[in-house]
């Protein structure tokens, strides 16, 4: 055995201890644990992540009123580099990657051969031939198999790269005071690098809240110092660390969908009829039929031409104030039309909003006379409510400060 295989086997052996820590801790865990008053953790892709840290409701208001810090390290991250990286990603994803300039970010999605969505995510162009793809699910075999015939290198960097989302009206102020000079020039979906403690941090004007906000990626070793830098700069701007509960409210208001919540990913679906095409989950606008061939192209265009699309994703505004999560949607109170995949009382709009997956022609042809049957469990009794629902455009919350450049300070 040569030295290389010996050390590979040695590394493999050392890794056996993973079983002692079945839930991983993110690079920010130390800080989160110190801030956690309620000890309300869940598993996000195998990482300990907070549902809430002190009070879900107040955490939500941090997003909309001040600045909220949310640990996105468990997000799966791939680094894609090499001379064919652009061509490779153009075949992989729905949007035209040739139009993605260096220093820009694309929200995108990718499909299997049958046009069923495998996942959605954000694609960062860090260099001419250097991309970062962030998403909810793991896709290494798919990404590697897609690389056949392309000169491209694909590396998962989820563990090495820590991520933070800093969102809310004072988020820019926090960054400014933390010394990230020039960040005010960032337009939405732009990304730029800064030096931090001898390492590099990328800051993009992106987020999952529909608010003014940024996402920061930094090597694991510099994670805590970045946190501290933001935290101390943020104190005067009422920065708060938040958990997923608050973020989820904000993302529903912003009308964003979450894989395996609002749709089932094609590689995860046990039931063939649960797979969805982009047009069936509101992602039709990502599909670019004019760009070179991409995975799922023929199936998607055939489905459009033959009108065989079966589902549609809509935003609903529902009477009353009882959240309608997982409620059945009816047409004329009797024909089952679909299901609410996510629904909340929106504190910002003061409306009862929901994202729903409907079976066409409901939602496409029949858009009126929709009803939602809400089973509200109240002290061990379901109160069945049949509430009128209206299809409304997403996002439910549209904030001018999200796109204003330069951004405001409050």
């Amino acid at each position: 055995m040569n030295a290389l295989t010996t050390s590979a086997a040695g590394l493999r052996r050392a890794a056996r201890n993973h079983i002692r820590t079945p839930r991983l801790e993110t690079p920010f865990h130390e800080r989160l644990a110190a801030l956690s008053e309620v000890n309300d953790w869940y598993s996000w892709a195998g990482y300990k992540a907070p549902h809430s840290l002190f009070d879900g409701e107040l955490e939500y208001f941090a997003i909309r009123s001040t600045a909220a810090l949310f640990d996105i390290s468990p997000m799966v991250k791939y680094r894609i580099t090499g001379p064919d990286a652009e061509r490779y990603l153009n075949r992989l994803t729905l949007r035209d990657v040739r139009k993605l300039a260096v220093g820009r970010v694309q929200y995108t999605a990718w499909c299997d051969d049958h046009g069923h969505v495998l996942d959605d995510g954000t694609l960062f162009r860090l260099g001419e031939a250097d991309f970062r793809l962030c998403c909810q699910e793991r896709h290494l075999p798919w990404l590697l198999d897609s690389a056949f015939g392309f000169s491209v290198d694909i590396r998962e960097e989820t563990e090495e790269i820590a991520g933070l989302a800093l969102q809310g009206p004072t988020s820019y102020a926090v960054l400014r005071d933390a010394g990230f000079a020039g960040v005010e020039a960032l337009k939405p979906f732009a990304v730029v690098s800064f030096q931090h403690e001898g390492g590099e941090v990328t800051i993009s004007r992106t987020g999952f809240t529909g608010d003014l906000g940024y996402e920061l990626f930094v090597p694991r070793a510099k994670a805590l110092s970045l946190w501290d830098r933001l935290w101390s700069a943020g104190e005067l701007h009422a920065i708060r660390a938040i958990g997923y509960g608050a973020l989820n409210q904000a993302r529903i208001e912003a009308g964003f969908i979450v894989a395996n919540t609002d749709f089932v990913t094609a590689e995860g679906a046990l039931r063939a009829d649960r797979e969805r095409m982009p047009d069936e989950i509101g992602l039709d606008w990502l599909v670019d039929p004019d760009k070179p061939n991409f995975n799922g192209r023929k199936a998607i265009l055939d489905a459009r031409r033959n009108q065989t699309l079966k589902y549609i994703l809509v935003g609903l505004e529902i009477e009353g104030n009882i959240p309608a999560e997982h409620a059945i949607v009816y047409h004329r109170k009797k024909h089952e039309a679909g299901i609410v995949t996510a629904g909340i009382w929106s504190p910002t709009t003061k409306r009862n909003i929901a994202i729903a997956s409907l079976e066409r022609p409901y939602g496409s042809k029949f858009t009126e006379d929709l009803w939602v049957e809400i089973y509200a469990m109240r002290e061990l009794q379901y109160q069945k409510l049949m509430k009128r629902a209206k299809i409304v455009p997403r996002p439910f919350v549209k904030l001018a400060r999200r796109t204003a450049t330069p951004p405001g300070l409050k």
Partner: protein, 515 residues
């Protein structure tokens, strides 16, 4: 520059069959062949000064009658060749007529048992045969034609009563060994069935589904006889020229030494080819009559295929197991058996021998005691050898493509084993050898541009047949790329000199895609 309606890549017999049919259907067709002569695996070559081999195949046993008529190759008059089975004891079994219509060298009981088994297998193969001459049923879009084939098959089964129908469904995916054991007692006969079922397939006789190999053989016919085998008048070397002549007569343009570098495709539509020298030739239809893996992994830009499709093409199992031996001899070798010189000789002792020979192939090793079939081509076609000389052609199994030790080291060792085996069966043959040319699957790959050196362009096993040949999304000759069609042995129904993949593909194209 002339423009063409269709470009056929590869001038093997399937490419030429497709081109001929397309041309007869009124299309202007260009065939592009990388080698300096057409014929593909039926292309002859001089393997030693003065000694020629007619290519990979040394017998015809499944050339489709319509294809034969189309190319004007008349096999109807050809005499069916006998098969001689030799186990080294000197006592030969001879099968006469079409796959042993009569049989010598076994007891009367055994001959009767063989007749019963033969009858059953021929009947069952006849049911399967209905599916060979048309595209496989397209799942999800079963057509009237498919239904009528299915119904025909069902009625065909019932013609002989429920018992036969039930037996068919029971036996379809069985191994050849259990079937042979049930009917037969003679090890040589059982060995023959085991050999014929597994020749060219990575299975042993005891592997489930190995009976399919025998069914496949019995779906073929020669001179109108199911299971028959012939060498056409003029020898095997006359086959490639016949296909070429037919194509040219139909108006097909054939260009040799014309390797295709790339298939042009954009957003799922093929539009022609780029030659390796950079010349572009456009045509609305491109027919790839070469290996599906070469087609989709090398000629088509992977960006034009889906990831899942590329994955499935890569998963096609296509590693050859058969070595081809051509011997130049200074005299006719002396094999036992009255008919040995006149037809096919199979050297096999028993099913166990075949099974044991298969074992090492699973691990990338060649058989230390291989089994083989032999013909003496120059006896039918004296032009293949100088006068007084003789050629011997053998297909030797198992010789796995991926030899763990590498074929550079393995080939001399394997050749010695093969020659020793021949010496045991034909004493003195060693001293008469002028030249020996052993082509391992690696050599076959290089000589004939056959990835994996697999003459079926992909394992002929249950999971790679019909709707899964070569892979689900490309199983009906059409492929996920519009205008690009498959027409090689890698397409339905599979390999052997049948001409059917090319023929069916062309008919599919001419029908506008309606099966």
């Amino acid at each position: 520059m002339t423009s063409f309606d269709a470009i056929v890549i590869g001038a093997g017999h399937n490419g030429l069959a497709a081109a001929t049919r397309l041309a007869k259907g009124g299309r202007k067709v260009l065939v592009l062949e990388a080698a300096n002569a057409p014929g593909g695996a039926t292309r002859g070559r001089e393997f030693a000064p003065g000694f020629r081999s007619a290519g990979l195949a040394h017998l015809v046993n499944r050339l489709d009658a319509d294809v034969a008529r189309d190319i004007g190759l008349d096999l109807a008059g050809g005499a069916l060749l006998p098969t001689t089975v030799l186990d080294g004891s000197g006592k030969a079994v001879t099968l006469h007529g079409a796959y042993g219509e009569s049989i010598d060298g076994v007891s009367a009981d055994e001959a009767a048992a063989f007749a019963a088994l033969r009858k059953k297998l021929v009947f069952q193969a006849g049911i399967l045969k209905r599916f060979l001459r048309r595209p496989p049923p397209q799942i999800g879009a079963i057509s009237l034609g498919d239904l009528s084939t299915l119904a025909g098959a069902g009625l065909g089964l019932l013609r002989k009563g429920r018992g036969e129908g039930r037996d068919f469904l029971r036996m379809l995916l069985m191994n050849v060994a259990d079937v042979a054991d049930e009917y037969l007692a003679d090890d040589r006969l059982k060995g023959l069935l085991a050999f014929d079922a597994t020749l060219g397939i990575h299975l042993g006789p005891r592997s489930p589904t190995s009976l399919l190999g025998l069914y496949y053989r019995l779906t073929g016919e020669a001179a109108g006889k199911t299971g028959g085998q012939v060498v056409p008048a003029g020898g095997m070397a006359s086959i490639a020229p016949a296909f070429v002549r037919a194509a040219e007569k139909a108006g097909v343009t054939i260009r040799c030494s014309a390797p295709v570098g790339r298939i042009l495709a954009d957003r799922g539509r093929a539009s022609g080819v780029v030659m390796r020298d950079g010349t572009e030739i456009t045509a609305p239809v491109v027919v790839s009559a070469i290996h599906p893996q070469t087609t989709f992994l090398h000629l088509v830009d992977p960006a034009e295929s889906g990831t899942g499709f590329v994955r499935s093409v890569k998963n096609v199992r296509s590693h050859g197991n058969v070595a081809k031996l051509d011997l130049a001899l200074d005299r006719v070798p002396d094999f036992a058996g009255p008919e040995a010189r006149n037809g096919r000789i199979v050297l096999v002792c028993s099913m166990e021998q075949v099974e044991t020979a298969f074992n090492p192939a699973k691990y990338g090793e060649f058989s230390p005691d291989p089994v083989m079939e032999i013909t003496l081509p120059s006896l039918a076609d004296p032009s293949l050898a100088p006068s007084g000389g003789c050629t011997l052609s053998a297909l030797v199994q198992y010789a796995p493509y991926r030899l763990k030790a590498g074929w550079e080291a393995g080939k001399p060792a394997f050749l010695k084993i093969v020659l020793d085996t021949l010496e045991r069966h034909a004493p003195g043959i060693s001293r008469s050898i002028v030249a020996a040319d052993l082509m391992t699957p690696v050599d076959i790959e290089a000589e004939y541009n056959l990835p994996g050196g697999h003459w079926h362009h992909g394992e002929l096993q249950a999971d790679q047949l019909l709707v899964n040949r070569p892979t689900g999304a490309a199983s009906g000759y059409a492929t996920p790329i519009e205008g690009l069609y498959l027409a090689s042995a890698g397409a339905h129904p599979g390999g052997g000199i049948s001409g059917l993949p090319g023929w069916n593909a062309a008919r599919h194209i001419l029908s506008g895609g309606k099966p």
